[in-house]
């Protein structure tokens, strides 16, 4: 059975029933990595021996009746921004050469306790400061369906690993969309939990007030399992799918639909039509200050990133990739008064997202306005306008890093060329579990024909 077609929930049932071994599944993941990584560059480090040992241990425990739960024996990859004890956390940068983590990040420790098998550390945009995965000390990661394109970023290697069967899930980080953007570009599911729900300790920071840790995987049900485990909670069984009739979705149309690739717009409207036909109530909602999102986000992320990197920029400047170095240097010129203005703007926007959610089960919008962009381009044509790649890729996701609301990217069709398109659901603060249950119920309507 090819690993691409399996979910964690399905694999867990087979492992527990001893119809399959973790050793065999892990070997298949490692074989996928060995066969594809030279062209896709998804992994910075592969833990072959360690993964095989973890898998054998899982098989022994399961055989002895010591089943730990649905991640027991499941091959998982990890963005190389999170500490895994005894291994280097490169953050995709030469600046980190020689750093070896003494202990697991708490999120990783929870996965280890749940019995997950770690197959390796994934490539990323250097220090998670970019959305294309082009600027990495280890070279660009490449889209699994078109090597001339970006897989999205910054968790690009993570998305590739899930899309290609190198791992059943990956743990990524999201500061402006770095889980949801590559998930949308590569056709997988990506969850940004609510702010501070999953520990960011042991994770190289980008912007401490907007960093989130979360999973990339194949279904919303798998995302729910991983969400629990990452928080150190025993995972619940995925709930039965609820009736779509009566679900209330709000579409923040003005700013968010203003600049969309025509095929993304068409796929999104098609999903809306299917949901309406199934009985969902879909209404337009407004974020009155949506035009302020980008400047507010920029002043916070740049200032907070510059604070973390200032010392290294003085002592190791040449070890950064040129583009990331320049963007970090830009942050060192932000005035305190403008950072304070941005914090106030964030408060306004956060309240506006919460207000838009009143009366809705979730907001619904695309996750990425364009299909996966070509590598090496600074701008991309979207309809009649030419947009900077960085701006357009962040456009639909960064608001929910500012506001801290939980958000999940889900496959939502394909372009005529076969490139994935992603939709996004956004839930109320403190209601990530409800959002996951809704996503589990709606995902067959977003991308019909995909078996889940």
């Amino acid at each position: 059975m090819p690993t691409e077609t399996q979910t964690i929930a399905g694999l867990a049932r087979a492992l527990r029933a001893r119809e399959i071994t973790s050793a065999a599944v892990t070997e298949e993941s490692l074989a996928q990595i060995a066969g594809k990584n030279s062209s896709l560059n998804a992994f910075i480090a592969v833990f072959g021996e360690e993964a095989r040992a973890q898998a054998q241990q899982a098989d022994k425990e399961i055989a002895a009746g010591r089943y730990r739960g649905p991640l027991h024996g499941v091959p998982i990859s990890i963005k190389d921004l999170l500490d895994v004890r005894g291994t280097t956390t490169t953050a995709g940068s030469r600046v980190r050469t020689g750093h070896v983590a003494e202990s697991d990040a708490p999120a990783i420790a929870n996965l280890r306790e749940a019995g997950a098998v770690f197959v390796g550390k994934c490539n990323l945009h250097e220090f998670a400061f970019g959305t294309t995965n082009e600027d990495s000390a280890f070279g660009p990661a490449r889209h699994p369906l078109d090597a001339s394109r970006s897989p999205g970023g910054s968790s690009g290697g993570s998305a590739i690993s899930v899309a290609t069967g190198m791992a059943f899930a990956s743990i990524g980080t999201d500061t402006g969309g770095s889980i949801r953007i590559p998930a949308a570009a590569c056709g997988v599911v990506g969850l940004k939990p609510g702010y501070d729900e999953v520990s960011t300790a042991g994770v190289v920071p980008l912007s401490r007030t907007m960093d989130h840790v979360g999973p990339l995987c194949r279904t919303a049900g798998d995302a729910a399992l991983l969400y629990d485990v990452l928080r150190g909670i025993a995972p619940q069984e995925p709930p039965p799918r609820r009736e779509v009739r009566g679900v209330r979705l709000g579409i923040p149309r003005d700013y968010f639909m203003a600049i969309l690739d025509p095929q993304v717009a068409s796929s999104f409207e098609g999903a809306c039509d299917r949901l309406r036909s199934a009985g969902a109530a879909i209404e337009d909602v407004r974020i009155p200050h949506a035009n302020d999102i980008a400047p507010v986000y920029l002043h916070i992320v740049l200032a907070e990133a510059a604070a973390y990197h200032a010392t290294a920029l003085e002592s190791r400047a040449d070890d950064y990739t040129p583009n990331v170095r320049l963007r970090l240097e830009m942050g060192r010129y932000i005035l305190a008064e403008d950072y304070a203005r941005a914090l106030r703007g964030r408060d306004i926007l956060k309240r506006e997202v919460s207000a838009a959610l009143e009366g809705c089960d979730a907001l619904f919008l695309p996750a990425l306005p364009i299909p996966a962009p070509k590598l090496g381009v600074a701008t991309v044509k979207v309809g009649a306008t030419e947009e900077p790649v960085r701006n357009i890729t962040l456009r639909l996701t960064q608001l929910f890093n500012l506001s801290g609301h939980p958000a999940i990217a889900l496959p939502c069709g394909h372009t005529l060329e076969g490139l994935p398109i992603g939709g996004q659901l956004v839930g109320a603060t403190g209601k990530t579990r409800d959002l996951l249950e809704l996503a589990h119920s709606l995902e067959p309507y977003l991308a019909p024909g995909i078996s889940r």
Binding site: P288, A294, I334, G345, I348
Partner: protein, 58 residues
């Protein structure tokens, strides 16, 4: 500090530090800062701007 003064100083400092390539990024940042400062939710010590308070009522 006005945005023009800030930008002039920042570009001059970047050139002094051997980072002339920073100039277009700083110009982009200046445009974003201008948008940030003119947002209608900004406070004003004169009390002239009340729109932020109205937005607070959401």
């Amino acid at each position: 500090m006005t945005i023009k003064s800030w930008l002039d100083n920042a570009v001059q400092d970047a050139e002094r530090r051997g980072l002339p390539n920073l100039k277009p990024l700083l110009e982009t940042l200046a445009r974003a800062t201008s948008a940030l400062r003119t947002a209608d939710w900004n406070d004003d010590a004169t009390g002239e701007s009340e729109s932020g308070k109205r937005t607070d009522a959401h």
